[in-house]
Symmetry: C2
Subunit: 314 residues, 2 copies
């Protein structure tokens, strides 16, 4: 039982209608690792600069995240992102991106990271995703995320990476863009024809849907009256989803995947309640399980047959 993730480890400056923060700890691998840390041992892989110090390492280590494969590059600067959200929190407006040490990133994995049972290739250049996938041949379940940039500029590489994983986790607009198919059910099927056995469509506030060869499952987003910063929600979803799967003993069957969708939904909902990692870094498992049970209560209904007395001529 162990989970490796490759992705960005970053500083984010974010402005939303509900506040702003400068140079918060962020990045895909960070949000993912913190969310997954409630379920299993996580090993993030990625480069940071000299600006990444003990305070940042401590946020991860307090959650039991193994930081040995976070590579600190002498003289370098960490990946930096500045973005703004208006009232439609589904849309991020990027104002600045500085790759820093990420520009020359060549993944180096320790033996422990290579031995991962579950592997997540967060949104990075697809050739890098393939390199890491090749270094973790024993992973029994692997998943990747991506974005419009790679769909537009590295489509063949991305399709090759997709062919090598078990599960693709993308926004629904990205699934449509990747396949050129406006119907999501058809688009998900087209992705599975490249190899994956599962496709997760992230739908922002509307939740997430899981497509497999034989079935469809969907959950709404957990309803929140206070959403402050959506940055990292998708990675927290993936962290809850894959963290739960890695903790599961036995087959990753349909019922297990569905519960994992529930934990992904719950971790994403905590993520957006505060800026950056503020909420998830301070969570505990009891809060997570309580919200999981609330989500269960919000989605279940009784399939009783229709009552008698109808006058329909059918």
């Amino acid at each position: 039982m162990s989970l490796t993730v490759v992705g960005s480890i970053a500083f984010d400056s974010v402005h939303t209608p509900f506040g702003e923060r400068e140079r918060m700890l962020g990045g895909t691998a960070v949000h993912f690792s913190l969310a997954a840390s409630f379920f299993t041992e996580v090993r993030p892989v990625g480069p940071v600069g000299e600006d990444f110090g003990p305070a940042e390492f401590e946020v991860l280590e307090r959650r039991g995240v193994a930081t040995d494969d976070i590579e600190r590059v002498p003289g370098g600067q960490s990946f930096f992102w500045r973005g703004r959200y208006e009232y439609d929190l589904n849309v991020a407006h990027t104002e600045d991106t500085q790759l820093g040490v990420f520009a020359d990133f060549e993944p180096k994995l320790s033996e422990e990271s290579r031995a991962a049972d579950v592997l997540f290739l967060a949104n990075i250049q697809p050739d890098l995703q393939r390199q890491v996938r090749a270094l973790c041949p024993e992973a029994s379940f692997s998943a990747l995320d991506s974005m419009n940039l790679w769909i537009e500029t590295a489509r063949d590489s991305l399709l090759a990476a997709i062919a090598e994983v078990d599960c693709v986790i993308l926004n629904d607009a990205e699934i449509r863009q990747l396949t050129g198919e406006p119907n999501l059910a058809r688009a998900a099927r087209a992705v599975m024809e490249h190899g994956p056995r599962a496709v997760v469509a992230k739908r922002g506030e509307y939740g997430a849907a899981l497509f497999t060869e034989e079935s469809f499952f969907a959950l709404p987003g957990f309803p929140l009256e206070d959403v402050r910063d959506p940055t990292g929600a998708g990675d927290s979803f993936a962290g809850g989803f894959l963290g739960y799967l890695d903790s599961h003993e036995g087959d990753l069957d349909e019922s297990c995947l569905r519960r994992a969708m529930g934990y992904g939904t719950v971790l994403a909902s905590f993520n957006v309640e505060a800026f950056g990692t503020e909420r998830v870094a301070g969570l505990n498992r009891e809060e997570i399980d309580e919200r999981f049970h609330q989500l269960h209560g919000m989605t279940q209904f009784e399939p009783l047959p229709a009552p008698s007395g109808r006058v329909s001529p059918a």
Copy 2:
């Protein structure tokens, strides 16, 4: 057990990427009535012109819909709508609207229609909705739909109408617009503060959510690989929802409202599979119940406790 609906009875010309039709039978009261006809006796109220003939009446009567309160205005033309959808089927582009006999509509309800147990005020001018509401004092459950036009031009009337019903059924963007509150959970609460005990947020392909004072419930849209024409989906949803409620014996409690959400979702899904009323008019109850059970299977998950073995320090 009887259900009255007031709304448009119309001809629609619709163009989608998947085909087009000229002057199909349509209108809010028609889509609603056909969907509800599988559960209960429905009485649509509304005006038509001389262009509305035996063929149109027959579509309704074959489904057992009581057409006595459809008022045929001598020399008049029926309401007509022409619209177009691009690949984003969530957005209708209106190209022509001719009110015809609807311009001078004054609701006249027979004794049978006034005696309705359940009442649906489809999207019409809110003062007309209030007139009809006042004519049906015995309705134990009433609901209304509306649109951006009335929110912008008749907001006070609309709020007065909302205060007189048990349930509001609107698109989520309309709920936000009505309340000026970007957060949907807060916006739904603000609507309930005007009087209704329930708010249904329609979310297009993402399904629908039910807010009550104590609870939240949401269902995804039924996944379809072939969506041809979304016109009328919201009214078919309302027809399945209120038709089921009217057929229900006993209290309209939370579990009953949730099953009604399921039937609404199912009827909306059949509606969009073909143009106009083509699919719903030819349905049978067995197909509806089969899809209801499929929807149930796509939304349920087991709330098992997380397995042992986690290493989280939490």
